[in-house]
Amino acid sequence: MAYNPTEFLDYYNIDDLLTDEHKLIRKSIRDFVKKEISPNIEKWAQDAHFPSEIVKKFGDVGAFGPTIPEQYGGGGLDYISYGLIMQEIERGDSGMRSTASVQGSLVMYPIYAYGSEEQRNKYLPKLASGEWLGCFGLTEPDHGSNPGGMLTNIKDMGDHYLLNGAKMWISNSPECQIAVVWAKNEQGRIKGLIVERGMEGFTTPEIHNKWSLRASCTGELVFNNVKVPKENLLPNIDGLKGPLGCLDSARFGIAWGAIGAAIDCYESALKYSLERIQFDKPIAAFQLTQKKLAEMVTEITKAQIMVWRLGMLKNEGKATTQQISMAKRNSVDMALHIAREARQIHGGMGITGEYPIMRHMMNLESVITYEGTHDIHLLITGADVTGIQAFK
């Protein structure tokens, strides 16, 4: 065999573009996942159990907010590092990666980017260490792809805001200590607020019976005349660009993360196909199996190069929303396709919890929908190249 695979799939020597520090970060998160996640994930997923003890462990290893400056408890690392962390966590499980993405990109990022100094100091260190878990409330029952239409609202009551409305499909909600919530003010402008557990009228019912991201907890956020102190409003942002800015950061992580899931499926399929004998040969000897495997490794390699370049652009502050959309869409579609093909290679075994394939495949059905659906991202690219918006 000419291509000698190592622990980190690298057909195009992309590792040459990484620093020693990047490789140490990747290896450390890989070791963390092998120790803390992989031995238990099949059971957690089968039992639809969110392992709440993982939150503190993610905090300890530094998976929450690695790009946030150290003075707030973050890692002070670059975006390639962030991407590699997401890739290795999602190689374990997309639900676990979702927990980390939401905390870092959708809770810590807005508090860091749009919050006051007091808010940064109050919340970020506790979120970074995993003492607190946060969630991000944008989607509503009747407003998913069109968040600008949201109904959740705040009224200025002089010494506080009165918050009313409901959010749906919110990752981490049932276990959260705080929620970053997007709501319209009386002028119809979208504002961000930090809502804390324990505020009267704030509840977080869990959504049950998901077939996807079963080890991650998902729920609603219900606000019934919640009095939110004025100092909990994020002062430095106004309008839909607030939540969309957070999504840029999270989608960037997903673009890397989905590659991790794809690698896990590919590696499992490759190994299985070399060991499984049919018609007196390993099934890897048949051309149709080789076509699947060869296409998998090709697609993973293309995606790896794309996200590496995107990471460099992000480090320079030059990555556009549209470029991030393209990478999120490409990586997740690629990973889901690979999961389906890998499932076929595993034959009947592929549907069991003996192999990670079906879990990844079901997880990716959420990943292809959340943070902007597959089709919405396509329309973002379409609008970018034609200059004509087709989604309104």
Partner: protein, 245 residues
């Protein structure tokens, strides 16, 4: 407490081993190098002792510049500073001489190593270093505690354990289950960037051994199954084919 931890840079344990065409050198092309696994026990235990009792942990490696990625990893796990003695580690005596010469001037209370380096599995460096420094060496340690000026080391012996108290300074070599090796965290990796890594030139070049030739162990042959009722055939094969009886 001033602790020195010696780490060697070894091929990842899953590496396929090959040699150069003359069979005189190990072929390092494409090989992933890691911190010697036993040294990770020593390092983590040193950091735990420092965290509990105060002090410093210095890591030392005798090696060329390409070992620095693993030295940085040791710093990321929690060592305070590092020294690289800039030389190819050509044999155990040479390595021990370098370590001892460096340690002499620094007055370490405790020198921790792995019980053996999984590349050449010499099981020698700790004993040599202790001898050169005129201090005791306890090996292989499975448990290590320090109380004031006294170290208590539990070591494995044939069929049991031995518990030894010794006055510092001493050399101790580590193996499992001394502690659970730590995975570096992201903050540790970031702070390792700015921790000092001093490069020191070697003193002397004397070696005591030279490698004549390397050979791979014989290929494992297939398993022969012999039915229980044919025990006689088994004896014949053991005698004539395997030549073990």
């Amino acid at each position: 407490m001033k602790i020195l931890v010696c780490i060697s840079n070894v091929p990842d344990t899953t590496t396929k081993i090959t040699f150069t065409p003359d069979n005189k050198q190990f072929n390092t092309a494409g090989v992933q190098f890691v911190i010697n696994p036993y040294d990770e026990y020593a390092l983590t235990r040193a950091i735990e002792l420092k965290e509990a009792q105060g002090g410093t942990v210095t890591v030392l490696n005798v090696g060329e510049a390409d070992t620095e990625a693993n030295i940085r990893k040791a710093l990321a796990i929690g060592a305070d500073d590092a020294v690289r003695i800039n030389a190819k580690p050509t044999d155990a005596f040479f390595v021990a001489t370098q370590i001892a010469n460096y340690a002499k001037a620094e007055n370490f209370d405790l020198i921790l190593m792995g019980k053996e380096s999984v590349d050449y599995n010499g099981f020698q460096v700790h004993g040599m270093v202790a001898e050169m420094l005129g201090i005791p060496s306890i090996t292989p340690g499975v448990k290590l505690d320090v109380n004031g000026n006294t170290a208590t080391v539990q070591r494995e012996i044939e069929g049991g354990h031995e518990i030894i108290d010794a006055q510092l300074p001493i050399v101790v070599s580590a193996q499992q289950p001394m502690t659970e090796p730590r995975i570096p965290n992201m903050r540790g990796i970031m702070t390792a960037r700015t921790k000092p890594l001093k490069v020191v030139e070697p003193t002397g070049s004397e070696t005591k051994t030279e490698i004549e030739t390397f050979a791979l162990p014989p290929q494992k042959t297939g398993v022969k199954m012999i039915a229980p009722e044919n025990a006689g055939e088994l004896i014949t094969l053991l005698r004539n084919e395997a030549k073990v009886i």
